[in-house]
């Protein structure tokens, strides 16, 4: 019992420190220092051509973070891929009524359209590579949930998913290297002379849509691998 009280005391004092920190920060007189966000908001659209500022930060100003983060996802997928033994093990193994099978069959094209929409319109509306990729990953997940893993494995073998994921990652880096070919730094978009087009249209903002597509492919394949290996875990 003393141990529980001690732990509670620790956590409460941590909370006290945090609260002191937050209240200090809160009533610190904020001379508007963050010129960085002012700059992004004012010139963001001209410099990157993307309406959605979050995507412009993610895929142009700080595209290096996204590369690092995509590697984290790839590592997670590799870990789960090799943690799983080769034997097949279907998860629920429950047989559903005909309605479920038919519904999934008809649902899949709509999910695919939604996924592609979210990826392609990443720089115009909220969403983008990550979110669209996850939506695309729903298709193999839905298949393995309803029709069982062997069917979804048959449709999309783990090897193809691994290859698709790697292609996505390599594509991201090669797009970054495109700028280096023209003499600019890695992952340079506007400066490297890629046509930014006029903001608001689909084909605009230079490299960003292609980076979005690459990340979308990668995240989709990665999460499909993660989900299937979790289900096959033995």
């Amino acid at each position: 019992m003393v141990k529980k009280l001690y732990k509670l005391g620790l956590v409460v004092s941590l909370g006290m420190f945090l609260f002191v920190l937050f209240s200090d920060i809160h009533n610190l007189d904020r001379t508007s220092k963050n010129y960085l966000s002012e700059h992004y908001i004012s010139e963001g659209v001209q410099e990157t051509g993307a309406i959605n500022l979050v995507t412009s930060v993610l895929y142009d100003y700080r595209a290096f973070d996204t590369l690092g983060e995509a590697t984290v996802l790839l590592t997670a997928a590799t870990i789960l891929a090799f943690l799983v033994p080769v034997t097949k093990a279907d998860m629920l193994g429950t047989t559903f009524t005909i309605i479920v099978y038919q519904a999934t069959k008809y649902l899949i094209p709509f999910i695919a359209v939604l996924g592609v929409y979210v990826i392609m319109f990443g720089h115009l509306s909220p969403g983008g590579g990550f979110v669209g990729g996850v939506v695309m990953a729903l298709i193999p997940i839905l298949l393995s949930l309803t029709y069982g893993i062997d069917f979804s494995e048959y449709k999309l073998t783990p090897n193809t998913k691994k290859v698709v994921e790697d292609i996505g990652a390599i594509g991201f880096i090669l797009l970054g290297l495109l700028a280096v070919l023209t003499g600019n730094n890695f992952l340079a978009n506007g400066q490297a002379g890629f046509p930014l087009g006029n903001a608001g249209e689909l084909i605009s903002a230079g490299l960003i849509p292609y980076l979005n597509v690459m990340i979308g492919i990668k995240v989709g394949a990665g999460l499909a691998i993660i989900f299937n290996s979790l289900m096959k875990e033995q």
Binding site: N52, P126, G127, G128, V131, V134, A137, F227, L230, M231
Partner: protein
Amino acid sequence: MDMIVTLLMIFLLVTAFFMVFTKQTANAVIAFPIFGSILVVLFVIFQAPSVAMAEAVITAGLATGFFVITFNKTKDSRKE
């Protein structure tokens, strides 16, 4: 506007405490998507749509799936 935020915040806390202090993990795993979706609504109110979408899809969506699979696969040691 503030009314909704305070309400949602309190609801968020209630779900979090429930998730942590319930006896069976089944209740915790079920309460998790509720926790996720309240967060999504909060993010939308705080004008962060892309974060809300990502949160909805990854934390509320996939993480719940992972939790359900783990919970399902660890059936036979749930009694203790």
